[in-house]
Assembly symmetry: C2
DNA sequence: ACGTTTACTGACAACGTTGTCATTAAATTA
DNA sequence: TAATTTAATGACAACGTTGTCAGTAAACGT
């Protein structure tokens, strides 16, 4: 390995002078600079990041934490886009991205205390995760891409307005004269899912419609689960005429189940998804869905974290809610009767 | 920050002894060990990874390189599953995963020469990438998740048998009496795409069918591109009765286009995808597709790389081809005439 | 001509850990 | 009893870089 010493020897200066050239510090005479640069080129010298990190006391690395329990997260286009937003923002700021699968043997808190990273971005942390509290107490810079409780405001997060999104969807359905609307929700252990249910209840109440609890079904964000829940919903003696799904994957599964049961979409049943993943345009029928800007979610989370790490003293929790918008396609139509 | 010195002071031993306890080295008297462990617990000491890496001359980190040019890669379920395979294998071996977006300002070769990683996994590297050659010359341990040329065998890779996969698909279509089969391919700059075309030509030739070059259309792995190419293919004066798509996303787009043009799938036109992403089961109709085990691809790539890094001396390139299998669903049926 | 500033450079310590080697005391052997 | 092995521990250098501070020579001011 070529070190700064080798460069110093070849160019006949001290290691400190080489360091100055490499880091563009202070005044260096043009001849010296040239000489050193020449040697660097000749030897192909590259500074050793580890050594730098040790003296600088930082790593220029951000850890992105994925809860290992949530297996579906990897098959979910939503996840990848958030990750892309994070990755590009970090890359633009010359930060490294350490992708970490959280599980019991590798708790994510140690990433910081072992100085592998300077800060953390937490993806999809379930409610009441005990690790999280420890982070805050130790002043670890961190940002969540999801709310971690309905009330907590000591943690920074960037998240979509799930309640508002579902309300938009229900307004749309009601304008199409639907009155029996079911919610095929994700796992209730996630705040985002609870907020969707909240929006659902609020909107129905606003229009004097009963929010029958049997109309809220709990699943897990996979197509399989959407498929199963739709079938279950339609078995109701008074089956819904519209389904709002926790995400687009569930919506695809739901539409498939409806077809298998002989229901036309949207003639018999309207279906609305959540996310607007790229495939939503290409399902049959193309899916009406509540769009959230997942890329921006990731980008903003990274941006927020970078700001924190730059100014750890004045860091106060920041909470950013991103607007959703309803994308109307062909999976929704007027109610039959 | 709590350092090994603090632990040494509190427990009244030398730093070296603390180090021995932490790393479970040599013989330490039970009393000393207990004393030190007590101090570690009391202070909440965690070893500093950067300092360790510096003296050990390694990072226990693997870089996963994503070509930034390939924007579609992030929206592609395929990518995430390979990544999951890599992530889990690395995690199981206590290695860190550094996710790196390759672009001009951040060439991936420097990740190794700057000692940020001990080895590299290259995702979806285009043919003739100049960085790659440099890696090999410098003895950087690296494995590709795709072949980087038809002939090169100095690089290690793990990849699916694309040619064989397409041949399986064509056998299936021919058994359904299809004779006009088009290939909606991905970008020809990728070897995997060229191999699919090779399989296509071979299989047709084997059955004495003409491999009309107009029947191979080049796209880019997105649904949009599948949509556009299908429309184009059907404009042929002698339109195909079956479409083999470069991946499932393209197949979804293609099916949508066919429906818009009034063709029934599979009554009028059969469609076959590639990958078998989780959604393939839930399209309408459910998609017949060539399955590749993307998770295993990632896992094996990581496994191979880990083996290399353990034994850099005897490292010879290893090339692993994974079998594909045809999953028959409802998007294929007998040819009409 | 002499003091003072300025521009440039280098010696050395430090970051937190592990490796090498020496040291001590106890245990074993002759 | 003396010599030798063994077990347990510590002093110090090293990893490759940056920060601190001091040093030298030239340029400037009076």
């Amino acid at each position: 390995m070529v070190t700064i010493k080798d460069v110093a020897r070849l160019s006949g200066v001290s290691i400190k002078t080489v360091s100055r050239v490499v880091n563009n510090l202070a005044e260096i005479s043009p001849e010296t600079r040239k000489k050193v640069q020449q040697a660097i080129l000749e030897l192909g010298y590259q500074p050793n990041t580890t050594a730098r990190n040790l003296v600088n006391g930082q790593t220029n690395t951000v850890g992105v934490i994925i809860p290992h329990s949530a297996d579906y997260i990897f098959t979910h286009p939503f996840f990848t886009q958030v990750l892309q937003g994070i990755a590009e923002e970090l890359s633009a700021n010359n930060f490294n991205l350490l992708l970490h699968l959280a599980h019991d043997k590798a708790p994510y808190a140690s990433l910081y205390s072992q100085r592998k990273v300077d800060g953390l971005i937490l993806m999809s942390i379930p409610i009441g995760d005990p690790n999280l509290q420890g982070l805050e107490e130790n002043g670890v810079p961190c940002v969540c891409t999801c709310r971690i409780s309905e009330t907590n405001n000591s943690t920074s997060w960037v998240d979509a307005d799930f309640a508002g999104g579902v309300e938009q969807a229900i307004e749309h359905l009601i304008s199409l004269r639907h009155r029996r609307i079911a919610l095929l929700a994700g796992p209730m252990s996630l705040v985002s899912v609870r907020l969707r249910a909240l929006g659902y209840r609020n909107a129905l109440q606003k229009h004097g419609l009963p929010a029958a609890d049997g109309y809220i079904l709990e699943g897990d964000f996979t197509s399989e689960s959407g498929h199963a829940l739709a079938a279950k919903a339609m078995k109701d003696p008074n089956p819904p005429s519209a389904l709002i799904c926790g995400d687009d994957m569930m919506a695809f599964g739901a539409m498939q189940a409806l077809k298998e049961l002989g229901y036309g979409v949207p003639e018999d049943v309207s279906v609305i998804g959540f996310d607007d993943i790229s495939l939503a345009r290409f399902s049959s029928p193309p899916l009406t869905t509540i769009r959230q800007d997942t890329y921006e979610k990731g980008r903003k989370a990274a941006e927020t974290l970078l700001a924190f790490m730059r100014d750890k003293q004045n860091a106060t929790p920041r909470q950013i809610m991103l607007e959703t918008s309803l994308i109307t396609r062909n999976s929704t139509a007027s109610a039959k009767n």
